[in-house]
């Protein structure tokens, strides 16, 4: 369980209020699946049609994974995965 996953407020209902959970995996998808196995319901908020939901940003350490392979982005032991819903909106 060598990856730390940081959970945003709106998804903490799935983790019993925990802000951070430990997980394992070699890609973002594997880590998400691993967290899902212990905290059911989280994956559906993050993944839509086998891609990361448009409104959700996921970072491995400091890098937004949309620039490094999305769900296939590599994750290594000691990495931190941060999940942050996009802050966006507007009149349109």
């Amino acid at each position: 369980m060598a990856v730390k996953v940081s959970i945003p407020t709106i998804l903490r209902t799935h983790t019993g209020g925990e802000k951070s959970v430990d997980a394992a995996g070699k890609t973002v998808l594997e880590v998400i699946d691993d967290v899902e196995s212990r905290h059911a319901g989280l994956k559906a908020r993050l993944v839509k049609e086998e891609k990361l939901h448009r409104f959700i940003n996921v970072y491995v350490n400091d890098e937004d994974v949309r620039f490094s392979g999305g769900l296939e982005a590599e994750v290594k032991d000691g990495d931190t995965l941060t999940i942050l819903p996009a802050v966006a909106g507007g009149a349109r």
């Binding site: 709106i10 940003n57 937004d64 819903p85 996009a86 802050v87 909106g89 009149a91």
Partner: protein, 135 residues
């Protein structure tokens, strides 16, 4: 209810006027659990659009890390509408994902008079709330 210092209201309105006709956006952070807006943080609208705003994803990460380090949360999330009223759009509702935040909307559609209103947006339900400006 949103209780907010006058100078913070003025900073939000000034930001909205400055960025008009693009939408302005930002956060006012406050200590976790206090529900008190304290620290004004204007953000770049990475969309630079008159009808859409989005925090740049790198800015977003830095913002949340900084708030986390200071035990702060985003008490107010604000943005402006530049040609329509200060009421949350369907887009605003679909993106709203901070259930504890006060969503402040400013309208700069009239040059002489701005609108400043605040809402809670929880589970896709909009509830307007009174704004109490404190000195």
């Amino acid at each position: 209810m949103l209780q907010i210092r006058r100078e913070l209201v003025e900073e939000i309105v000034a930001h909205a006027r400055r960025d008009h006709p693009d939408e302005a956006c930002g956060v006012i952070a406050g200590p976790e659990g206090s529900d008190t807006p304290e620290r004004f943080i204007p953000m770049l609208n990475a969309a630079r659009s008159p009808t859409f705003y989005e925090f740049d994803s790198g800015d977003l990460l830095r913002l949340y890390r900084e708030m986390d380090a200071k035990d702060e949360v985003p008490v107010v999330i604000y943005h402006s509408h530049t040609a329509t009223d200060a009421y949350p759009s369907r887009t605003d509702v679909s993106y709203a994902s901070e259930p504890d935040a006060h969503y402040v909307l400013v309208s700069t559609k009239d040059r002489d008079r701005h609108q400043f209103r605040s809402y809670r947006i929880v589970d896709a339900v909009i509830t307007e709330e009174p704004v109490e400006i404190v000195e």
